[in-house]
């Protein structure tokens, strides 16, 4: 890794403090991370160490208490709500442990949701969504409802949905956490494929196998970076 690759997401001394009544809890205590374009990063660590908190900040769902987050070239750390929504919708793709599909919508409608908020509707929207569904191997399930699909299939819908706006970073919080090992492996294959196509992926995981597949592993402990290792 000697080639100069552009930084795509950079955290500078990011902290996150929760106040519960008078009690103060430092979920993140000064994190410096620089994610490069095209990297496949696994974020690991024991439960409660702040992985999800970190991912939420990286995903612009939450703002850091202090420090800076530069996404692309822009400091998004103290952006107002509407701008953050815009960033999430146009630059980021989310994949959740519990899939988070909207139950009353069909597969294709679920995939179309992010497009809708970008002002893309009608034929254009449907075409993109169908293409994404095919890309994750669900071309024949377009009009099914989420509850008619297996966990692995639901997670594929989730991935298709995250790709639909062509995001610069994919964020996944334990995407295989609810899956058996076989469908989990299939999902990981899909991530590898996406990585091969040049996507930047940030994935929270407990699974050591995943961390072997990824290029880089960041380990957290008590809200701090314990280690940040690039595998060959």
């Amino acid at each position: 890794m000697t080639v100069a690759v552009a930084s795509i997401a950079r955290l500078e001394q990011v902290t996150k403090t929760y106040y519960m009544g008078s009690e103060k809890l430092d979920a993140l205590g000064g994190i410096d991370i620089d994610i490069l374009e095209g990297e496949y990063v696994a974020i690991m660590g024991p439960s409660g160490c702040g992985k999800s908190t970190l991912l939420n900040i990286l995903g612009c769902l939450d703002r850091p208490t202090s420090g800076h987050y530069i996404l692309g070239d822009v400091d998004v750390s103290q952006m107002e709500d509407d701008s953050l929504s815009e960033v999430r919708g146009s630059k980021l793709g989310f994949i959740f442990q519990s899939y988070n599909l909207i139950q009353q919508l069909t597969v294709i409608e679920n995939i179309e949701v992010p497009l809708y908020y970008q002002g893309i509707a009608g034929e254009a929207s449907r075409d993109i969504a169908v293409e994404m569904a095919k890309r994750v191997g669900l071309g024949d399930r377009l009009d099914h409802k989420p509850f008619e699909l297996s966990g692995g299939q639901q997670q594929r819908v989730g991935i298709a949905r995250s790709l639909v706006n062509d995001p610069i970073v994919l964020l996944a919080d334990e995407p295989t956490g609810n899956l058996d090992s076989r469908s989990g492996a299939e999902i990981l294959d899909l991530f590898n494929e996406l990585h091969g196509q040049g996507k930047t992926i940030l994935m929270v995981t407990h699974d050591d196998d995943i961390c072997n597949q990824s290029q880089r592993v960041i380990r957290l402990r008590d809200g701090l970076v314990e280690s940040d290792i690039r595998n060959g």
Binding site: N56, G59, L61, D62, L71, G72, D73, V74, V76, M79, D81, D82, S83, S85, E86, V87, R88, G89, S90, K91, F94, F96, N100, L101, I102, Q103, Q104, L105, V113, P114, Y116, Y117, Q118, G119, A121, G122, R161, N165
Partner: protein
């Protein structure tokens, strides 16, 4: 990359395509909980349909009342003779004659002293039995003047009313009321035929179109059996003294005129002139043996009643729609809580606060507008049903349904705002964590 790329793109949520999608989405969510949605909008349905139905009934009733009053003439003052209450009617003395009521002199005084009065219609009314061959009927014989139909706004179904000449010559001609004609002439055409009262024959020259009675009197709305003859003829044939059978004994009454209609030229002066006439009559009558009826006053009070009724309706409508709106708000708040996760997902996928507000607001408006539409349909059917099953008149004016429907939509907006804002103000992270 520069700031502009990440700056808020203003995606207008109200473009037709997006709005259509939001509406379809709204219907889908409501359809998902059909029963709940239906129960939720019942308040609005009942509110709207009761408003429309009651407005239609009220409108019909006040239309009928006003129509009746208008038929009496809003420029008219109607004078009646009434038997003074303290008259000893139990007197068994046969020669005793009760004298009361309006006199020809009264009318002359009115005509002579009040300049704004144009026409005076004096009437004498007597209850008699009328014969035609073997057919007979009891009817009021009305002695009147040739311009009576014009004053009373009566039309003739056939024939004509008697002329000045016939009146002057005390001719024995008569005009039948609409209800009397078939009783005496069930098979024949009455015009040109003769009817008998006592020992006198009268030639029928006309039949009055449907006539309604005086509102407020006991015969209101019924079609009166009446026989119109010239006043001059009536005086000549029946004299001034009338014999009446009352509770077994005979009673003699001397009444010159039973009724008189005074037409006032300028409507603004009607009430004032009524007072003047009352003053004149009071000065010349020892007893209170007359009565004034001012249709304009009746019209005014009917209008006031209609206004009160509308205010009452408005309050009922407001209360029921308020209750309906609270019901909707309650359900939408529950729905927001229930769909916290969905809200979190949408926010994570790029929805702005206003997108969430729009979504929930449209859903609430759809809910209340659907209720409003149902209410309008039922509300229009109810008056039609009432009209078909009873002889009550109902009028559905377009204002009723339009008003009720728009109010229901407004209720949706007002009571949808709070739940929608609650939904939009949820923290995305919290919302996503919600079970």
């Amino acid at each position: 990359m520069d700031n502009r790329v990440l700056a808020t793109k203003n995606v207008n949520p109200f473009t037709p395509a997006r709005l259509r999608r939001t509406i379809i989405l709204g219907f889908k969510s409501l359809w998902l909980h059909r029963l709940r949605s239906l129960l939720t909008v019942l308040g609005i349905v009942f509110g709207v349909c009761s408003v429309i139905a009651m407005l239609a009934v009220g409108e019909g009733a006040s239309y009928e009342a006003q129509e009746q009053i208008r038929r009496l003439g809003s420029n008219n003052i109607i004078l009646h003779s009434v038997k003074p209450p303290d008259t000893d009617s139990n007197s068994t003395e046969q020669t005793y004659v009760i004298e009361y009521g309006l006199t020809y002199k009264d009318l002359e005084r009115i005509r002579g002293t009040i300049p704004g009065v144009t026409v005076v219609v004096p009437n004498r009314i007597m209850r008699k039995r009328i014969w035609r061959a073997t057919y007979r009927a009891d009817a009021d014989i009305v002695g009147t003047v040739p311009w009576f139909p014009e004053m009373k706004k009566l039309r003739l179904a056939e024939g004509r009313f008697f002329s000045d000449l016939e009146s002057y010559e005390k001719t024995n001609v008569c005009v039948l009321s609409a209800s009397l004609a078939p009783k005496l002439f069930p098979l024949k055409k009455p015009i040109g035929q003769k009817v008998r009262v006592g020992s006198n024959y009268y030639q029928v020259i006309g039949v009055i179109d449907v006539e309604t009675g005086r509102p407020g009197s006991s015969d209101e709305g019924s079609r009166l059996d009446r026989l119109y003859i010239p006043l001059t003829t009536a005086r000549a044939r029946f004299g001034e003294i009338l014999r009446k059978r009352s509770s077994g004994s005979f009673e003699n009454e001397k009444v010159q005129l039973h009724e008189a209609i005074v037409q006032v030229h300028n409507q603004q002066e009607v009430e004032e002139i009524a007072l003047i006439i009352e003053g004149i009559l009071q000065r010349h009558h020892k007893k209170r043996d007359f009565e004034l009826e001012v249709p304009l006053e009746l019209l005014r009070s009917a209008e006031a009643t209609a206004r009160t009724f509308n205010i009452l309706l408005g309050s009922i409508a407001a209360i029921s729609l308020l209750v309906g709106g609270i019901g909707i708000m309650n359900i939408m708040l529950a729905s927001v809580t229930e769909r916290t996760r969905e809200i979190g997902i949408r926010r994570a996928l790029g929805a702005k606060r206003r997108d969430i507000i729009t979504q929930f607001l449209i859903e609430t408006v759809l809910l209340s507008a659907t209720g409003g539409a149902l209410g309008v349909i039922i509300g229009i059917m109810i008056p039609i049903g009432i009209g078909a099953m009873t002889d009550m008149k109902t009028i559905v004016t377009p204002e009723g349904p339009i008003l009720a429907f728009s109010i229901s939509a407004v209720v949706g907006i007002i009571f949808g705002i709070y739940p929608a804002i609650r939904a939009a103000n949820m923290d995305p992270v919290e919302a996503l964590r919600h079970e």
